[in-house]
């Protein structure tokens, strides 16, 4: 299976701008992207719809990580996946240029909370995406049991279209 992630350039720019905002104590910001899904032969196509930032008051003080968010914030995103029947992707940025990668903390935390999205909205896939200033990288949970593949290709749909292979 090839996994493609498509997002309009305007939505991606809005996400980057939001994630760049300073927080009172958290080192970085995070948010969630909802997406529709389509299949084409052996391609799974993830089509980004909307971005919702995590509210300022939902960050918890934790000097050990870039950002720790409350259970309430995660619960709200899960509710979104369930009510709107959408795929939901956690998103944050590492800045810089080129295709980024998950940190050790990202890998650990993704494995802890993304499966809970699969539990409440099993009709969709869910996952996590990390951005740089020029590209993105991501991983997808298809269900609770099978391995979690990486997103193969990203497409930023704007003028011009930008495609990059991420895995």
């Amino acid at each position: 299976m090839n996994i493609r992630f498509k997002i309009t350039a305007s939505l991606l720019a809005a996400i980057r701008a939001d994630l760049r905002r300073q927080h009172a104590f958290a080192h970085e910001r995070v948010g969630f992207i909802s997406a529709g899904l389509a299949a084409a032969h052996d391609d799974l196509i993830i089509l980004a719809r909307e971005y919702r930032p995590v509210r300022d008051e939902d960050y918890l003080p934790d000097p050990g990580v870039g950002a720790m968010i409350s259970a309430e914030a995660i619960r709200g995103a899960r509710q979104w996946a369930m009510n709107d029947r959408v795929a939901v992707f956690h998103v944050h940025t590492h800045g810089g240029r080129g295709v980024p990668g998950f940190s050790g903390v990202d890998i650990r935390e993704n494995a802890r909370f993304v499966p809970n999205f699969v539990s409440v909205a099993p009709h969709a896939v869910h996952g996590a995406v990390v951005l740089s200033d020029t590209a993105a990288f991501g991983q997808v949970w298809l269900n609770r049991k099978s391995p979690q593949p990486f997103i193969t290709r990203f497409a930023e749909v704007g003028m011009p279209i930008r495609n990059w292979r991420a895995a």
Binding site: A35, H41, I45, D84
Partner: protein, 301 residues
């Protein structure tokens, strides 16, 4: 020195970008065949060509690449397009679907850009709904000839670039309920619409410029929404006034929450690789006999 050296102003990576791109061409008649030829000249690497029709005698006034010999063997239009493209891009990735574009939906979903050269507003509306759902930029071309009584005829047409999130063909008033209704009333009426090669060429060339802007623009910040009016009598291609009016308009007809397949369920989805070639539609018994008697090639690809 390469074949594409003279278009190096499109950017240092333009050859690779064009080669990696896959475009869908829906309708390989007068407009689509022009477009296929130009895309091959430009170095586009991937094609999904969809058209159910074979070439007929009356197509030869405008179908680029079509010959009288093709008419004699009832050559499918997609086969003619594939031959045309391979003459310039022998290793092009071509999927030829001699069927309605909806039968090529999975192939079209994977395209970077789709070009519609179809007849009718209903067809256009459905195609635009499909591309918006899958975040695919769409370029529409079409021409018409209007009778002006004693003043002769007006040759006209349009080229529209419809990008996800930007104004659509309904936003700009090109597709309206009234037009759809009128078209539905005319459905099945006898007679064919006038078409000529030169105006199709102008429209397809303009559309090729828009495709190039979407893939590898040669100047900064090209417009995301383009609506150009062609007047074949005046010999002009002008910006429709709505292009300016709708510059910052957000399309209400195709909201973001409609992306994706509405009934998608990952638990029921079988992901299978595509067969290397599109399956050939089976000939009916009378078509087989007809072809045997008159030596026609049928739907051979």
């Amino acid at each position: 020195m390469t074949r594409l050296d003279r278009q190096s102003f499109l950017g240092a990576d333009s050859d690779a970008i064009l080669d990696a791109a896959t475009i869908g061409i829906v309708g390989l008649g007068g407009g689509g065949s022009h477009f296929a030829q130009q895309a091959a000249h430009m170095g586009i690497g991937g094609y999904v060509n969809a058209d159910p029709d074979i070439i007929e005698d009356t197509n030869t006034n405008r179908l680029i690449g079509g010959t009288l010999a093709d008419v004699a063997v009832s050559m499918p239009k997609v086969t003619i397009a594939e031959r045309l493209i391979r003459g310039l891009r022998p290793k092009a990735r071509i999927i030829s679907v001699q069927a309605d574009w909806r039968d090529a939906a999975d192939d079209l979903k994977r395209c970077d850009v789709i070009i519609g050269a179809v007849d009718g507003f209903q067809e256009r509306e459905q195609l635009e709904r499909f591309v918006r759902r899958h975040l695919i930029p769409y370029i529409d071309i079409g021409m018409d000839v209007h009778e002006l009584g004693k003043k002769g005829f007006l040759v006209s047409g349009q080229v529209i670039l419809s990008m996800p999130g930007a104004p659509c063909m309904r936003c700009c008033g090109f597709i309206t309920d009234e037009r759809l209704e009128q078209e539905a009333k005319r459905y099945g009426a006898a007679g064919s619409r006038p078409q000529v090669v030169w105006s199709n060429g102008v429209l397809a060339s303009t559309a090729m410029g828009l495709l190039t802007q979407v893939l590898t623009p040669w100047y900064p910040n090209p417009p995301k929404f383009v609506f150009l009016d062609y007047d074949g009598n005046k010999g002009t291609m002008t910006r429709n006034a709505r292009m300016e009016l709708l510059r910052d308009h957000v399309c209400p007809h195709h909201p973001a929450d409609e992306t994706g397949d509405p009934m998608f369920d990952i638990r029921k989805q079988a992901f299978r690789p595509r067969l290397t070639a599109a399956p050939e539609p089976a000939l009916r018994w009378w078509q087989q006999i007809w072809n045997r008697i008159f030596g026609r090639a049928g739907t051979a690809k």
